[in-house]
């Protein structure tokens, strides 16, 4: 009897495997694998969603058949919401979208100006959308970024590699979905987002990140240039590698390569006013000294270089803090949380208008730069 039951179960399982079942719609070969999503808000209140999906009609080298050589296909769909727009792709593609391979969400400028609240909900709610997917803002429209081609080939299929470069370049601010939602749920919903722009040079198009967008109450408020973005990364303690450069009084341009960076942020309330202190401790290598080849690097010279670096970083970061807080633009570094942590009663009292509290706060930055290496010393011989 047991053998009969086992035989029936096995036969059923095999028939199930070979026969039709709704599970097979989940097969990787039956899914539209999305690698990038762009969202643009239209004037009618609806959304145009641009999907970058893997083109499975491209054959591998061992199979000979003519077909498109592009590795990605672009779909442009419309809908009242992001989800309805994406789902409508099934009507002409015949495959269910798969979001788990999605690497980047690009939000159009118009969408950002109106607020991203409605856009983000789907991505945070769907379990297959990874929490570590990158979020970026398009300089104009998201579809321009995702559709951009170079010599017939879509160039933006590795857009996440561009954002990934943030770990090597302080001028890029990286934002992942879970970080966005984390900051979005703060009372002021302030965060920063990288801005993708299309640049054309010698007939070639490239996607670049030159700026960082600032959001407050989940709406686009302002932008920061590359240098300001570097300072923002310092203030947020998000510098791992990268470089910065400054000018000395002798008109030398010095480039420093960052080896290690630690940032300590504290707050004290004195006379009812929060006093923020940001301590940045850097370990750097001297990468280049432009116009300074006649001078040898001795101890005094190194101290001078450190001093210049510290002054530069201090000045620039205080400038940025002033821009962010005194202008009531955006608490992108999240410093209001320091008050929340250390002085919860003060936070509670000012919860309705945190921006004003941050605007009246005092900010000071202390920088300590240690030069670890200087490379080979290059001295011009007489």
């Amino acid at each position: 009897m047991n053998k009969i039951i086992v035989a029936v179960v096995v036969i059923f399982a095999i028939l199930f495997s070979f026969g039709g079942s709704e599970i097979y719609k989940n097969d990787i070969s039956n899914r539209l694998i999305i690698q990038g999503i762009g969202i643009d808000k239209e004037d009618d209140g609806g959304y145009t969603v641009t999907l970058q999906a893997i083109n499975t009609s491209t054959y591998s080298a061992s199979v000979q058949e003519s077909g498109s050589e592009e590795t990605v296909k672009i779909y442009k769909v419309h809908g009242d919401t992001v989800y309805t727009a994406i789902k409508s792709v099934v009507s002409f593609e015949g495959k269910i979208p798969l979001y788990s391979q999605n690497r980047v969400i690009v939000i159009g400028k118009a969408t950002a100006l109106g607020g991203i609240e409605g856009v983000i909900d789907f991505f945070a709610r769907d379990a297959h959308n990874g929490p570590s997917v990158y979020v970026a803002l398009a300089e104009n429209r998201a579809d321009e970024i995702l559709e951009a081609k170079n010599s017939g080939e879509v160039i933006a299929d590795s857009i996440d590699d561009t954002i990934e470069a943030a770990q090597y370049n302080t001028g890029i601010f990286k934002l992942e979905l879970y970080e966005l939602v984390n900051r979005y749920r703060d009372s002021e919903a302030c965060f920063a987002m990288p801005v993708l722009s299309l640049e054309e040079a010698e007939g070639q198009k490239i996607v670049q990140i030159k700026e960082t967008a600032l959001f407050c109450n989940a709406k686009l408020k302002s932008t920061l240039n590359g240098d300001e973005t570097s300072m923002l990364n310092f203030l947020c303690g998000r510098v791992y590698n990268g470089e910065f450069s400054y000018k000395t009084d002798e008109n030398e341009k010095v480039a420093m390569s960052i080896v290690n960076c630690n940032v300590y942020r504290t707050v004290k309330i004195l006379d009812g006013t929060p006093h923020y202190t940001v301590k940045i401790k850097l370990s750097t290598d001297v990468a280049e000294i432009y116009n300074g080849i006649e001078k040898s690097l001795d101890r005094q010279r190194l101290e001078e270089l450190s001093q210049y670096a510290e002054n530069y970083l201090k000045t620039e970061s205080e400038k940025l803090l002033s821009k962010l807080y005194e202008g009531e633009v955006c608490d992108a570094p999240g410093y209001s949380r320091l008050i929340f942590q250390k002085y919860p009663s003060v936070y509670r009292d000012n919860e309705e208008n945190l921006n004003a509290l941050m605007a009246k706060s005092r900010y000071s930055v202390e920088v300590e730069v240690k030069i670890r290496r200087v490379g080979h010393e290059f001295v011009k011989t007489l």
């Binding site: 599970i23 989940n26 984390n182 979005y184």
Partner: protein, 356 residues
């Protein structure tokens, strides 16, 4: 309780894994009254409450080391033993149903959102019945072996994410007061069916039970607190937007070119689910078999499996039904009654008899 003996290491390994399942699949609605950092505080507090809840059991079993609560009751009042056996079975059955339903909610939300894979929960119950049928020795040994991959998965998550902790994500402790934290911890202790398991099955374990119990509590508190610490530090407010935040945490754990290892990590948690369902069914089968000896264990397990499958399939189709069934207060009352109140009553009655 059956005469099989397992070591305390095996017994508490089982409890460690079964409790971990509840931690892995916790839903933020249970902790909505507290701030993020209080998650870590209540993770420790809940286990202190568990220790306090186990005090009557400790004294009761000190006197009667080879008898579980039902044996003790049966000694005093045979009919009462029968009634209590059915009551304990019902409590365990309730926890079985909620465990499987929560697992179904988890898999339905995370793994099979587009497909109706209800047969998965029938599969779980079937395997659970099989595990229960094989007995406590098999379960104990399986638990020891399962501890390794589960702990490895946990360590992997914590190790890969510890560098991503942002200390700005932590909130002030007791921001909303001490009482909400205490209430949350109490509810969490109420969801600890392991206390009921100890009350029923501790005679099966041979070895230093008290020491092992405290080691278990300590490790449980450490693991839970560490997990919550990393979760809050990495995800911050994102935690409260996810139905199963620990799964989202696993999704963030990266290794080399593998960006999403959460199916493997959460798949390993299924070992915990299997052990929990099996142990719960085993205890029910054992209790009912002792009271109704004319029914074989196989029949009882088959019946329990069928009944729980039907109920879980009914609940599986609706989140609303799940929220009705998965009631924190009901669980707290059930746990408190079975793990604390009844043993306390028996302790008092036994003391009175001794005095007389």
């Amino acid at each position: 309780m059956s005469k099989s003996k397992i070591s305390t290491f095996q017994f508490f390994s089982m409890l460690f894994l079964t409790r971990l399942l509840t931690t892995f699949t916790y839903i933020p609605s249970y902790t909505k009254d507290i701030e993020l950092s209080d998650l870590v505080v209540q993770a420790v507090l809940r286990y202190l409450i568990c220790v306090v809840m186990m005090i009557p059991v400790y004294f009761l079993f000190k006197r009667n080391p080879d008898m579980n609560i039902l044996d003790i009751v049966r000694n005093k009042w045979a009919k009462g033993g029968k009634i209590l056996a059915v009551f304990y079975s019902a409590v365990l059955f309730y926890f079985t149903v909620t465990t499987v339903s929560r697992l179904d909610l988890f898999t339905g939300t995370i793994v099979f959102p587009e497909t109706n894979v209800n047969y998965f929960l029938v599969f779980v119950i079937l395997i659970g019945c099989y595990g229960a049928y094989l007995g406590i020795e098999a379960l104990g040994r399986s638990a020891v072996l399962s501890v390794i991959p589960v702990t490895a998965a946990l360590v992997f998550i914590i190790a890969t994410l510890i560098g991503k902790i942002d200390f700005l994500n932590y909130t002030p402790v007791f921001y909303k007061g001490v009482l909400p934290v205490f209430k949350t911890a109490l509810n969490a202790a109420g969801r600890t069916v392991e206390l009921v398991m100890i009350t029923l099955a501790i005679p099966v374990a041979s070895g230093k039970k008290t020491k092992s119990f405290f080691i278990w509590i300590f490790l449980q508190a450490l693991v839970t607190a560490s997990l919550f610490f990393v979760e809050v530090g990495v995800m911050g407010n994102f935690t409260n937007t996810q139905l199963f935040p620990v799964h989202s945490l696993a999704a963030l754990a990266k290794f080399s070119m593998f960006g999403r290892l959460d199916p493997i990590i959460t798949g390993i948690w299924i070992l915990c689910a299997f052990l929990k369902v099996s142990f719960l069914l085993y205890l029910q089968g054992d209790i009912l078999h002792k009271e109704f000896e004319n029914l074989s264990k196989k029949t009882i397990l088959a019946g329990l499996g069928a009944l729980s499958s039907v109920i879980c399939l009914y609940i599986a189709g609706s989140v609303q039904r799940f929220t009705v069934v998965d009631n924190s207060l009901a669980k707290l009352i059930a746990t408190a009654l079975t793990a604390t109140v009844i043993p306390a009553v028996m302790l008092v009655l036994n003391r009175r008899k001794k005095y007389e």
